[in-house]
């Protein structure tokens, strides 16, 4: 680029345009239908999002009811912190207390539902090859990262998950009051008999995956920052791949829908909501 002078607009334009086409590890695939490494049976033309989210990065995206979202821990050290909103009325959002209480269990995995504060299923977990997730400990914040890494500012080298979630929410017009308690995927916390928390942060084998199904039209915000209880003194996190494709709305005979009486009523509440 040494030939291009940026002293005047035309030169600056040429300089800017010459940057296009660069490839970096963390970037979106456009068009999304050019995504590779799709699951068997998923046609490229149904792909609606494919992006590698940087270590310390974030993304936010809207999905239609029935969409599948597959998250891949590419190198074994990702931590996907998720916020979920009802896209048409974001005042309805993930309620982690109801999610755990209604399902009578504190751990997340295949078959579990992510419930809203309105008694409905926002998303369900269809597949899970990771097994270590966390609904108890939430997001790191600027102060907690500063204590651990010396700095926790969003513009610094150790961005915190709360600021990342706030930014992802802000892109949909949402603000501080909308950043609700999150779920952490790929990093787990085991609860001991006395209530103490044991972090299960790996690093793990590369390629672990979680596939979620949107049961409503949703906005999903994802931050990929070290787990708040990660004991390592280094800011340790690796990129996360997000791939989504269109899929059918959950059928009446779906096994996840019918697995428990509480869950079935949550699906009935969703189906009732969409009667209009």
């Amino acid at each position: 680029m040494s030939a291009a002078s940026t002293a005047r607009p035309q030169g600056a334009r040429d300089h800017a345009r010459a940057q296009a086409g660069a490839k970096v590890e963390a970037m979106p695939t456009l068009p999304a239908t050019a995504a590779t490494e799709l699951p068997p049976g998923v046609a490229a033309e149904t792909v609606i999002w494919d992006e590698t989210i940087a270590a310390g990065g974030y993304a936010s995206r809207q999905f239609g009811r029935g969409a599948r979202l597959r998250l891949t821990d590419l190198k074994g050290d990702a931590c996907a912190s998720l916020l979920i909103f009802n896209a048409e009325r974001p005042v309805e959002r993930l309620n982690i207390a109801d999610t755990l209480k209604v399902q009578w269990n504190g751990y997340l995995g295949a078959g579990r539902l992510l419930l809203s504060d309105m008694g409905r299923v926002l998303m369900s977990l269809l597949e899970d090859t990771a097994g270590t997730h966390d609904g108890f400990c939430g997001a790191s914040n600027q102060a907690s990262n500063a204590r651990k890494y010396g700095d926790g500012c969003n513009h610094g080298a150790h961005p915190n998950a709360r600021d990342r979630l706030l930014l992802g929410a802000a892109k949909f017009g949402l603000g501080r009051k909308d950043v609700h308690p999150c779920v952490n995927l790929f990093k787990g916390v085991r609860i001991e008999a006395d209530g103490s928390t044991t972090p299960l942060v790996g690093p793990f084998a590369p390629g672990r995956q979680v596939t979620l199904r949107a049961e409503m039209d949703v906005i999903v915000v994802i931050a990929n920052c070290p787990h708040v209880l990660d004991p390592r003194t280094e800011y340790s996190v690796t990129p996360l791949r997000a791939t989504a494709w269109r899929g059918p709305v959950t059928a009446p005979d779906d096994p996840v829908r019918n697995a428990t009486p509480e869950g079935l009523r949550a699906f009935l509440n969703v189906e009732d909501y969409y009667l209009r």
Binding site: V91, N95, G106, M118, G119, C137, S144, G175
Partner: protein, 209 residues
Amino acid sequence: MTDQAPPLPGPILLDEVVPARAPSMRVVKRGQTLRIVDLEGNQAVDFLIYNAHDDAERYSSQDTIAAQCNLYLRAGSVLRSNEGAPMMTLIGTSVAYHDTIGGACSCESNTLRYGHHTKGQHACVENFLLANAAEGRGKRDMVPNVNWFMNVPVEADGTLGIVDGISAPGLYVDLRAEMDVTVVVSNCPQINNPCNGFDPTPVRMLIAG
């Protein structure tokens, strides 16, 4: 009624009985102590905290759990905000531990847990929404709360649930405000699980300092 509790520090600024099933909203200034007394035993008291000067900063169960590396609230626990700041400190209690993972009952979650016949029953979220509405807060201000005097054990396989309480008549919890806070209480009206012994009863709140 508070025979089992130590004397409160400083003059008593508030002494109220919150009726069964009712909300209450009070300001506790930095340094003041709020005492809640379980008058008749095993009465869950759902509890939210807001920064009195900036209510987008509010109690966060997740930040509280992560900072103390434990699910349960015991003497010494620091109740933290969504931005990690100490809001109140649990300076004393005659109950072994309290809950902050069970959240608040709502008409909607009641339909999941017990069936759609419970949709019309009173619930803590109704108390929180109505109390908060007086100060312009709404549904976005609802977050998972503290449940004083409520017992939610977690078993080795993750199984958890609201079970019979470990509180008793006259047991108390004392909270020192670390910033000026607005506290919102729902004296839980739930009758479908054991959190209130299937019989909601009054509680007493005192503020001193």
